[in-house]
């Protein structure tokens, strides 16, 4: 029905993304076939599968017309794309957390405007959060398990995503502050949104809408 190229993120929101696309009438089922392929064709729709953080890049450059990606990634990268719809799925929170035993110290350090060391996969989000409070932070960017950093003294606290809080609890980390809430979004390339508006708008309308976020 669409003739669009759709970027779908691997990982946590993959399944939700597929069912949202299927409910909009796209043959996204082909993506469940096997986990190795990167490009799938079904009818006149093309799907590409990529790391969540790469989805906005494909869409911004027009290598994909539309894509599904978490708001957390959009806030971090601030890509020049059209954000069309909140799908409501993949809900998680961006939080500031510290080890239970040192939570008080970190709170005090931030209050006294000391420079704290924070480990994160979201360096821009972390920097902006501290700037908004008028505080300075030494931001350390990691790509793997962020929870490890405060346990071995690499950082005093972390800025990370959490859905259920299980990993935090298992590593005896407590939430000091909630920075934002994130859900999956449908995004579109700026050109595709205008040049192929009928197809893109039809897809956006047909996709299930999530509830409004209550902060």
């Amino acid at each position: 029905m669409s003739g669009l190229r759709v970027a779908v993120p691997k990982g946590a929101i993959f399944e939700d993304a597929l069912s949202a696309l299927e409910r909009a009438g796209l043959p996204a089922d082909v993506l469940r076939e096997n986990g190795r392929r990167l490009v799938y064709r079904a009818g006149d729709t093309e799907f590409i599968v990529s790391r969540p953080s790469d989805v906005p890049v494909f869409v911004e450059y027009g290598a994909a017309d539309v894509g599904i990606v978490g708001k957390d990634v959009l806030e971090e990268q601030r890509p020049n794309v059209v954000e069309l719809k909140d799908l409501g799925t993949g809900r998680c929170r961006m939080i500031l957390a510290a080890p239970e035993s040192r939570a008080g110290d970190v709170r005090r350090a931030i209050r006294h405007a000391e420079v704290v060391r924070v480990a994160t996969k979201f360096p821009d989000t972390a920097r902006r959060y501290f700037e908004r409070m008028g505080r300075q932070a030494e931001v350390i960017e990691l790509h793997g398990s962020i929870e490890l950093a405060p346990l071995v003294g690499l950082a005093e606290c972390i800025v990370d995503l959490t859905a259920t809080g299980t990993t935090l609890r298992e590593n005896r980390l407590v939430v000091l502050d909630e920075i934002s809430t994130s859900t999956a979004r449908l995004i579109s390339n700026r050109g595709a949104y205008r040049l192929r508006h009928r197809e893109v708008a039809a897809l956006a309308d047909a996709m299930p809408k999530g509830g409004t976020i209550v902060d």
Partner: protein
Amino acid sequence: MLPPESTRLLDVQARIRERFRLFGFREVLTPALEYSEVIEEHGLRDASYKLFDPHNQMLLLRPEMTTPIARLISQRLAGSPPPHKLSYVLPAYRRASVGRGQSAELYQAGVEVVGSSSPREDASTIALLVDVLQSLDLSAPSDFAVVLGQSAFYAGYLRHTAPDAATAVTTALAAKDLVAVDAIAGDLPADAAAGVREIPRLVGPATDASLVEEAGRFAMGEEAEAALGNLREILRYLGAHGALGAVILDLGLIGRHDYYTGAVYEAYAAGLGFTIANGGRYDNLLRRFGKEMPATGFAIYLERLLSVLPEEGPPPLLVLVGGDVGGIDAAAALRTIGVPVLHLSEDLPPEEAAEYARSVEAAWISYPATGGVKLATADPPGEFVFMDAESVARKVLS
């Protein structure tokens, strides 16, 4: 930049200059360095390279051309009658964001019409943009389209129906975040919310009159009414220019935050995610230089434009090898009748001459002979055939 890249860019610049001149635009040059106060917009200042002059005054490498031209007009053309129709074909400089694959030097070509608020000028600049793109063998709407909005329409609607939410909504829309626009609309009374939500979703071909009809439902308040009237006029004139088929309306297009005051547009090419040109009406910019002058114009991003243009073969060129004085005579005879000749003074053997010709993308090699030249193709190397100058011209220039 080397040929063929450089020659392609220069050819496109030449074509654009020709079209600009045909529409009566006169080309200006401005210095690459401007005093930092000239550029006021935060985003542009942040993106600019900064330097200091001997008196420690901060200078910028111009990040765009519109403001330098506005400065030029307010300082140097104050005495002459408006409108000032000026064009430029120059590079601008921006600190590229890492990983975004942008070059720090961007070649631009554009026009500015300063001193007229007529919708006819908005329409004629848009029509010129369409003309330029078509003259480069792009056709609308299959290869490109100009997306047109009217930023005062939405702003006027907001100021009239939801003044308290206006800033938040336009900020969200400038960031192209329709989810945030909807979220704000959710907190507004139903009649205000309808337009906040619906106006940005009015997108479609300009030939479809129903879009403007629908927009009419939200033309509340003097400002929005006037803006929609202005858009109708622009569309009418675009029709007269024969450019309407290249235009897509998007009433949610407002462009850079707080910059455009009326018509605003972006040109997109099929298969490229970025704008190849953008422009619009900026009636407040000249005020900064002490002149109240309405203005409208556009800039084309030449590197992006080049990336979507159809491939073209190399221009005709003949390599003439050696021949001492006779070679000079033969070259002159060919150039007189319009054959581009690269004359090599060394007497190279044919294989080396052919290799050289391929390296400069010349299709032909030749050796001087009495009454003409011996001519052969360079790639693949062909048999030499004797010909007089006229026959060579027919071969090489065909």
